[in-house]
Subunit: 469 residues, 2 copies
């Protein structure tokens, strides 16, 4: 079927929802989803359907779709595959717009499942509704409060990042991790087997969606390679696209087939496809979100020349190694900057230059302030990277040492108008010592509020910056 922006938009922004298989039994997916959706608070009528219950979580339970007071825009199906066909026929009869089929047991299990999936598709086409899934977690959209399987605690704030995910687990994982990093979504779509609406449709939808500024995707394969290539190219020329492709290796392709019944496709083909499209490739949840943060705080093509700094010579050498390996530059300081920096940094252990070693663990505030201002304002600096080594003044001055460094970094950002990246990490994994971790997290929030981007390691910082170029 052809792509239609309005059609998908009406599904994502559904104004009425029915949950078929809603349940009071905590071991059922139908319980978990209903609890998630009730907790998030759907912005419109939410109908619960289960012929065996009169009431679920204090709400009326309807015996079937046909008994509802209205045809819901969207139906969320949590019942097993073999029992779904009858419900789909009801959906066709009353005229719903779309059905999310969460159950597994379709194409990914072989012939029997393929036949069921074909039947579902036939019913939907005859009935004029679209299918999301099967074998998926659904759609999360903070605008109408729609959520996906375990998403009772997702952010209620609307953002401009879209995430399209063949994996249900990663759709939840990414949404949750993003929330605590301050990344908000226009929508997250877990699409599983993609029997009907597929990765290409969603990619085109978010390309056209004015609410979406950055598109991210986890893909195992594409239903239609040529169509996906075209959609990816169009998307990446319109806005930044971050794509995480799995199924590149032999055993992984085997896993992909048993997971979503997808054909992973040749790794070389995918590499070429991603490269030609100008999309940004990511591997893993952390890297995907690191890149999103870098895109939001800095943007593409503005982070090639780094000034790497911190307390100690080792971290500068290490950071420079990493940066050059990512194709970034750590250029010499401008001579005038170098001379001014030498003036303010005239003390034992400090080395003016790029990398810049400010000679921690003990540095008086005016030295640090002056040196970092010079570093940020240096003509060849595009991004100032500072490693807030965890022992930075902490052992002598306690939180105060780190707090001052945080203020100075926010100041360098403000004065220079250039991107500033802080590397900030905990030094304890001890459950009985949460004080340091709590302090680090507070500092992270403060840095973010001051426009400073934060990563937990130099390697992750440099990797994300490298992906912007």
């Amino acid at each position: 079927m052809s792509y239609d922006f309005d059609e998908i938009d009406r599904i994502v922004n559904a104004r009425s929802l029915a949950v078929v298989g809603a349940s009071n039994s905590p071991t059922k997916f139908g319980y978990m989803f209903t609890r998630s959706q009730v907790t998030m608070g759907f912005d419109g009528p939410l109908y619960l359907v289960n012929p065996k219950e009169d009431e679920i979580m204090g709400r009326r339970s309807y015996p079937d779709i046909r008994s509802l007071p209205q045809a819901p825009d969207l139906v969320y199906l949590t019942i097993p595959a073999h029992r779904s066909m009858e419900v789909l026929k009801d959906c066709a009869e009353v005229g719903v717009k779309a059905v999310i089929i969460t159950a597994s047991g379709f194409r990914e299990i072989g012939e029997r499942g393929k036949a069921l999936e074909a039947e579902a598709l036939e019913i939907s086409r005859a009935g004029g509704f679209r299918i999301i899934g099967p074998n998926c977690f659904g759609i999360y959209n903070p605008r109408n409060g729609l959520t996906l399987l375990p998403g009772h605690d997702f952010s209620t704030r609307t953002g401009d990042v879209a995430f399209i995910s063949q994996s249900g687990g990663y759709s939840a994982h990414v949404a949750r991790q993003a929330k605590s990093l301050g990344i908000d979504f226009s929508a997250v779509i877990s699409y599983g087997n993609a029997a009907d609406l597929d990765e290409s449709d969603f990619l085109r939808y978010f390309t056209d969606d004015p609410e979406t500024a950055i598109i991210t995707a986890y893909v195992e394969g594409a239903r239609d390679g040529a169509r996906f290539a075209e959609a990816l190219k169009a998307a990446a020329s319109a806005k930044p696209v971050v794509i995480w492709k799995v199924g590149k290796e032999e055993s992984s392709r085997r896993a992909v087939i048993s997971h979503t019944g997808s054909l992973a496709g040749s790794p070389a083909l995918w590499d070429a496809l991603i490269k030609q499209s100008d999309a940004i490739e990511a591997s893993g949840v952390d890297e995907l979100l690191d890149i999103v943060l870098a895109l939001k705080y800095i943007g593409r093509g503005k982070a090639k020349r780094l000034l790497i700094s911190g307390g100690g010579g080792g971290l500068g050498a290490y950071g420079a190694d990493l940066a050059e390996r990512e194709g970034l530059e750590v250029p010499d300081l401008d001579p005038a900057t170098l001379s001014r920096m030498q003036d303010v940094l005239d003390r034992a252990g400090a080395v003016a230059g790029n990398p810049l070693d400010i000679g921690a663990p003990l540095i008086p505030v005016p030295f640090l302030e002056g040196a970092l201002r010079e570093a940020a304002l240096n003509p060849t600096t595009e991004v100032l990277v500072f490693d807030l080594a965890v022992n930075f003044g902490y052992d002598v001055a306690g939180d105060f040492g780190i707090e001052r460094a945080v203020e100075i970094l926010c100041d360098a950002r403000k004065v220079s108008g250039r991107p500033v990246v802080a590397v900030l990490y905990s030094r304890s994994f001890d459950p009985d010592d949460m004080r340091f971790e709590t302090m680090i997290r507070r500092m992270r929030k403060r840095l973010n509020a001051g426009g400073v981007l934060v990563f937990p390691t130099m390697a992750r910082a440099v990797r994300a910056l490298g992906r912007l170029s």
Copy 2:
């Protein structure tokens, strides 16, 4: 000078110590080190030397080395470079065994510093004592309580891991991070410019040291390339050696020269050197410690064939991709295992196989227990890797869901006798929500106590395992 095990051993296990430059002024290195050493509690006479003070931290202050009641085995110098020569002459006069020179301002700053460094070396040779440094943090040895610059809170437990570090900052960073991961040291040596005793000497020392089972090193360059190559080869054939080499790229080599005055050497040469020696290469503190953990829990050459499992198909596909890229295998299950696993795992969403998808977020305990036992006992499994996705049962069962999974992993480890690796991560970085992070850390400790190795991401787990082969 030639290498002498006993000579270095007497320094590392010094029985008396003097701190020259000890201070009451919190902005001075001499204050910080003295506080660290007093807090750690040196196991022998600790003399503080400062002609301007009568008392430091409640202890008597001596005017100079000559006034001490005995010649200390080891002298820790925290005074500036240009004022050090007189003290070194005193050291020669009274007959100390070794001096740690922490000050910078020697070879790394150019001609003037080179001359000072040569002078220091001349005094030490004439006086018959050895130098550690200059431009270093010193030695940490839990056996005699000796510590290095900011190390007031290092572990007091003796371990079997040695760390040799050209960087002072990383010597502290590694010691601290290791402590909270449960890694203990035989000793950590920060050696800076290596004017006298160098990386080759320390490498040979730890090769011969019966207390050391694993040698780790951060190096920027080698004083004598051929000597280091020989020492590295001998070390790596005696025990596992994990080496982190920086200064491979242009700007990084520049940084290395200004940091410790070291010549980084050609990257290709170093790559060949490390490869030929059979040492394990690491990049960054996290990776270095990840490899140490993998060596301690698993050992070399026993982690090639993985069984990758977790709740969800995506993470298996991703894990398999990563594993094969690291040269590891994710082989098919033995047919008998597969058949038994299918019996216990007969439920929607679960896929028996390798990768194994146990179909979270909701799985009854007996299913998980049975499936993971089969997975661990499968004949082709060398290491069982399980991703404890953070939403694993948590949203329904709270901590209980994760606690049960932790017990089951410890059980699989016990029953199979094979290495089990858990991937366990927090899902919140919010300073106002430390509950989840605390719980995750508790679970980590419990897993470790049950012999299960824990990593915070699948990528780090697979990377560390890959380095064992």
